[in-house]
Symmetry: none
Subunit: 221 residues, 2 copies
Amino acid sequence: MIRVLVVDDDFMVARIHRGFVDRVDGFEVVGTANSGDQAVAALRSLAPDLVLLDLYLPDVFGLDLIARLRAVRPSVDILVITAAREAEAVRGAVRQGVVNYLLKPFGFDDLRVRLEEYARRRASVPDEVTSQADVDRVLAPARPTVNRLPKGLSQETAELVTAALRKTPENLSAAECAELIGISRVSARRYLEFLATQGQAEVTLRYGTTGRPERRYTWKT
Amino acid sequence: MIRVLVVDDDFMVARIHRGFVDRVDGFEVVGTANSGDQAVAALRSLAPDLVLLDLYLPDVFGLDLIARLRAVRPSVDILVITAAREAEAVRGAVRQGVVNYLLKPFGFDDLRVRLEEYARRRASVPDEVTSQADVDRVLAPARPTVNRLPKGLSQETAELVTAALRKTPENLSAAECAELIGISRVSARRYLEFLATQGQAEVTLRYGTTGRPERRYTWKT
DNA sequence: GTGGTTGAGTTCATTGTGGTCACAGGCGGA
DNA sequence: TCCGCCTGTGACCACAATGAACTCAACCAC
């Protein structure tokens, strides 16, 4: 369970956000706060993993609060939820390493997608990075995937491939996956490779046979 | 011109990084520092836009320095350049919003690509965001991922060999490395030799055994 | 010294998979 | 109906790894 603290000056809005977060699997709201001072106190007593932070607070501007939160609890992550559209606000938030920046108003699905993406990323950091590629994976994959597939890929096929990969406990090669679903090897490979770049699948090479080594894909997490 | 401050405890390394940065269009090094205190002072007097930060400093751990730098100059960006491979270091750096995290040792092109990507991103923030899509663009830019290997070598195998080499405290021969990973001796040697030419591995010859002397490889730095 | 032995470096054809390209079929808008 | 865009495909070439054969540098027995 990822523990969440909701911070918003408007009591009703905080309530709504709490409802949203509680509806997402793997997340639970451990408290709410309506001001900067309340947020710092709650952070200290509740030890949340993630703070949903509105930038417009009565006593302090949200971006200036982040440093104080980090001073209390360095490991806390921040997800900004605000109506602030100034470039400086966005830039400042990114500079302080916020997990995401969600513009009000938004629907449940907008928040859900971003929370799920955060959970995935959180779980997928290896104990020790060995190569620059590992680091890049941690740095980069913040794009909200689910609905945004690259050109040439379809949602339906993506789900088929994902399902097939999830079903097999061991590895799958592109050719095997293709035959399993009933699509061509080329298509299977394209989707598997996409899943790999997204960090949802892991690639290992199988050597030993003569000829070029085989790329085998494993579902992750 | 983007003003850069180079921070590294090793004087010679700082010098090299300075040379690298100055060779990239649009960037100029305005100073170097060899400790956390020097970095803070330089930040105050030189007002750089970007800090190239090594994490291993004599007086303070780099990640703990970032907050101090931000306190002095909130608008400064950080690019971490370090040999630190612990997940906590990477995660902590990302959490504090570093622009990038580059593993030592690296070549000029590795740094250049990341600096140029940073410059692009820096220039492309609109004055005011209107939609969530604008925000997402700022949050998740296109990943650089330019890791050029010579023909005949694959990224995955290269990572395997590197990992194996880093894990063994002493030397490795080509044959030992091959058996450890599960590839052929010829392939192992090809990758090890490549790492040697890159300066990431060191070669020593072991005599005394009958037969031709053995090339033994050690991970460097 | 000299020639034989040994084991590692080096080369190369082989091989099965990887990756690319241009096209086919389908869907939707004009 | 025509046109354009999108997704999946067959076919083709490129490619990474292999293992056998060869070369080479050190050691050893004489």
